[in-house]
Symmetry: C2
Subunit: 300 residues, 2 copies
């Protein structure tokens, strides 16, 4: 989700102003040009659903962010500060704007400076917290499923970056640029070996003979929060879940397919490159389970 | 080179102030948090040497920038405006700071906004032009050669992004983070198949039995400006130059090695992972030829 698409709503007459953005704890909507997040995509982000004023799966998002910091060797941000800034944004939106649903986006970068690619010896990370309006998603996406396509762009293998939600996202941008048709809700990305990995903004599950399969993300792709929750829910319901290599042909011949991400939850797939799919009872059951988990995710 | 490592030198008493940075033509050192350059690394950059007040290989840098815009489908910036902004920065540095040597860095991004990875229908690119101090480079690097190492990180294959100087540079950042030893001037990056591709900030040439070889960059790597000039110069001197796959072992057993980039020109390699190399007469001749070309590169 793009940051800063709405204007700064500062109201000096109100005790607690409601800026939609904090940069290092300050109400701001700019950052220094010298930031390595801009220069090299040297950072991470999280996109967190806010519903009924609550941050869904906050703990899991922070855990992924921490893992990303560790992998990129960016000093971990102060998680207490992050939580306070998020809470202030949410309070501001609720009390001043009357909004209790939206998207909280966090960006952590290695901060400014350093000559060239070499990181500064003592980096001072940049911490951005922003509140975005909830996107317009047709109800039919969840009720009737979405039409999707295979993208031409092939994801590259980079185990050093696989799984984490880093800021080097040109592959996703190029893949999303492949289609304009508003009836196509998502594109599937394969690697150079013909394995399907993920959607441009989502993870993929396929159902085959009662087993749930989701692509191995050890070489590329982002390990989504909802993907992990769905795997847990499926297992807890006695369903066998496998993380494995999945050929694109395995997807087109599956009994059912669905996509996951933090905002949309689960979208069943009703059509992939013209081939029709039904929404399976398993998918419907997981959608219900996920909805309960999202509502109860305050501490998760 | 990091942007904005020196402070804003605005002097309101002077007719033509000398800001070290322009963002979309305005003296500024910040940009909106909503910029896609930050969100996704959705953009390109160029690092141009300035010596004796002249931009070296300006035309070639612009050509690569244009190719990058075309490949990423970012609207091409107004090249006349870019040139005027660069000239203003250089004039300011020369007349107010007395500086006629430095580095001009250009960043072009797809601009702000757009929901998610999908680009806005009519993007308004961000154009950043910044002047940086010339880095401190020991004379010995050119005179005696540099010690280099092989990096553990393996470059991923992504033909859609190969060759252009885009902002997704986490591989370079991670690779440069592998060593601290100030005696090691550069690290070589191989792909997953054992082909050596480039340095973290440079291109590689190897000399073998009178032939000059440089890695094929169609799957990964940045096609450097100096690399192209050196290939031309070598060919014009009757030297055979091949662009091909080069195994790391081919590099360690070469007769001579050298690195190129826009700031350092040519650095001979005197040691790779402990193995010593001599500086060949060919390397020395190319260094002289390159120096002449750099001085004469005003229109190039």
């Amino acid at each position: 989700m793009g940051v800063g698409e709405f204007s700064f709503q500062y109201n000096s007459d109100v005790d607690r102003p409601s800026p939609p953005l904090y940069v290092n704890g300050e109400a701001a909507d700019t950052l220094p040009v010298s930031d390595r997040g801009l220069a090299y995509g040297d950072g991470l982000f999280e996109t967190i659903a806010v519903r009924e004023g609550k941050l869904e799966f906050w703990g899991r998002h922070l855990a992924r962010l921490r893992e990303g910091c560790e992998r990129l060797r960016i000093p971990e941000p102060d998680l207490g500060e992050l939580a306070r800034e998020a809470e202030r944004l949410l309070n501001g939106q609720r009390t001043i704007q009357g909004v209790d649903q939206g998207i909280l986006k966090i960006i952590i970068t290695r901060g400014s400076g350093g000559r060239g690619y070499r990181a500064p010896e003592s980096p001072e990370p940049t911490r951005i917290v922003a509140f975005h309006p909830w996107p317009e998603i047709p109800d039919s996406h969840a009720l009737e499923g979405v039409k999707i396509r295979r993208c031409d762009l092939q994801l590259s293998h980079q185990p050093a970056l696989a799984g984490i939600k880093h800021l080097n996202r040109l592959e996703n941008v190029l893949a999303r640029g492949e289609w304009d048709d508003p009836d196509i809700a998502e594109g599937l990305l394969c690697d150079g070996e013909g394995n399907v990995i993920e959607g441009t903004m989502s993870n993929l599950f396929i159902e085959r003979e009662g087993i749930l399969l989701t692509p191995d993300l050890s070489r590329c792709g982002v390990a989504g929060i909802i993907r992990a929750v769905v795997m847990e829910e499926a297992s807890s319901q006695g369903l066998c879940v496998e993380v494995t290599d999945i050929r694109y042909e395995d997807a087109t011949t599956a009994d059912a397919l669905f996509l996951t991400n933090s905002v949309m939850g689960i979208w069943p797939v009703c059509e992939l490159d013209g081939k029709a799919f039904v929404i399976s009872p398993t998918t419907r059951a997981l959608m219900e389970r996920l909805d309960l988990r999202r509502r109860a995710s305050g501490e998760d």
